[in-house]
């Protein structure tokens, strides 16, 4: 107990000092070699995921249902962002090269 007390006090102090909950840190997914890197990311609700095309050929980022999100064509160096507000599993693919697939899993930590 003697050792735990300072830690508990520190935690309480931090909690008092903490501001209102901020948006989760953004997450980046790189597109390279005709692959989404990383192909599966797990994020908290409210997270913005940004894809960057680092290939020398254009790609797209399109939800499997083709509705939830759909980027315009991304030429080399271009990006697309989407904020995931609702828990769930979101499969997506490149509509130009449909063998390229990825997944965003949204769940509260």
């Amino acid at each position: 107990m003697r050792f735990l007390l300072p830690a508990l006090c520190a935690t309480a102090a931090l909690a008092l000092a903490a501001p209102a909950p901020a948006a989760p840190a953004p997450v980046s997914v790189k597109i390279g070699n005709f692959t989404f890197n990383a192909p599966v990311v797990t994020v908290a609700p409210g997270t913005t995921v940004t894809w960057t095309n680092e290939d020398d050929i254009p790609h797209t980022v399109v939800a499997d249902d083709k509705k939830t999100f759909r980027s315009k064509v991304l030429d080399s160096g271009e990006t697309f962002s989407f904020t995931f507000t609702t828990a769930g599993t979101y499969g997506y693919f490149c509509s130009i090269h449909p063998h390229m697939t990825g997944k965003v899993i949204v769940k509260a930590s």
Binding site: N33, D56, I57, P98
Partner: protein, 312 residues
């Protein structure tokens, strides 16, 4: 009836000469055609007609190994204009543009117009990148197409006894899949072929291969088996496509598959690289891996000679 499919034997003759590949198919007669500008004249003595296939012009592509895909497309058209026998028409098997931009299509059309020949277009996946996901391509090419475009742009027409079928396999692609024809197009194809004699030669042109070249890279068409079933009763079927930017051939029964070179950049052999992106080649070797294709058909013996020529 010398060309009855049951008696028909499809022979393939392949040879290299002058940087071009010759692939001859005949009904019952071996047509060993060699390059040198007289390939078609060696066959049966009949007057052939010739058409040209160009593919994957990717107008707008500016990266390694080709900083100017417009220039190489111009060279391809100049190559066509210089052919000793004037082709009857041109088939463009897709990826006219790189990003489906109006300017890219405009430039491609302006360059191709120089050939002074009718052009039949089927789209590639790079031609489906506008807001309307292919509407720009269809609006542009449907109005002046020498053959009526149906549905998403598929078509058929006849020339000198040969039946040509243009198929669209780049629309509404699905996650994890490959090229796709779809039920509506397959139903149309069934009707289109239904009343034709099995002896009529068929030429199918499309963008993505109708045989699975390499599934890991999506180089195939999910539902092509349905189309090939409809084509199986014909004695001579030639399938021409682009998409993979290299010359490959395969024969299954009476069906010969030919993939074409691009006029913009090469891609690696199936599985030969980590990804199917543009293959880097030294500037001095670029023209060795770009090209156009001529196809000649001779009516009397029904041979078909496919000649792939580089831009070198």
């Amino acid at each position: 009836m010398t060309d009855h499919p049951d008696r028909r034997r499809v022979l393939e003759c392949m040879g290299w000469a002058g940087g071009g590949l010759v692939w001859g198919l005949t009904g019952g007669v071996a047509a060993s055609a060699l390059l040198g500008g007289t390939a078609s004249a060696k066959v049966a003595g009949a007057t052939p007609f010739t058409f040209v296939q160009v593919s994957d012009s990717h107008i707008g592509f500016t990266k390694d190994p080709n900083p100017d895909a417009r220039a190489t497309f111009r060279e391809a058209v100049a190559h066509i204009k210089a052919m000793p026998q004037k082709p009857a028409f041109i088939l463009h098997t897709g990826d006219v543009s790189h990003l489906s931009k109006d300017q890219e299509f405009d430039d491609a059309d302006q360059i191709l117009k120089e050939a002074g020949l009718p052009v039949f277009h089927v789209p590639g996946e790079h031609d489906m990148l506008d807001e309307g996901q292919g509407k720009a391509f269809l609006d542009r090419y449907a109005k002046d197409s020498p053959a009526k475009m149906m549905g998403d742009g598929w078509m058929s027409f006849d020339h000198s006894g040969v039946h040509f079928v243009g198929l669209v396999n780049v629309k509404e692609l699905k996650a994890g899949g490959m090229g796709h024809l779809g039920e509506a197009q397959l139903a149309w194809l069934k009707d289109d072929l239904a009343h034709r004699a099995a002896s009529q030669p068929i030429v199918v042109f499309t963008h993505i291969p109708l045989w699975t070249v390499y599934q890991d890279w999506g180089w195939g068409t999910d539902d092509s088996a349905e189309a090939l079933k409809l084509l199986a009763r014909f004695g001579s079927v030639t399938v021409l496509n682009g998409h993979i930017h290299q010359v490959l051939q395969k024969t299954e029964g009476h069906v010969a598959f030919h993939t074409a070179r691009s006029t913009a950049f090469p891609q690696p052999a199936p599985g030969a690289a980590p990804a199917p992106g543009p293959m880097k080649v030294p500037a001095g070797q670029l023209h060795d891996v770009l090209g156009v294709r001529t196809v000649s058909l001779v009516k009397s013996a029904q041979p078909l000679v496919v000649v792939d020529q580089t831009l070198a």
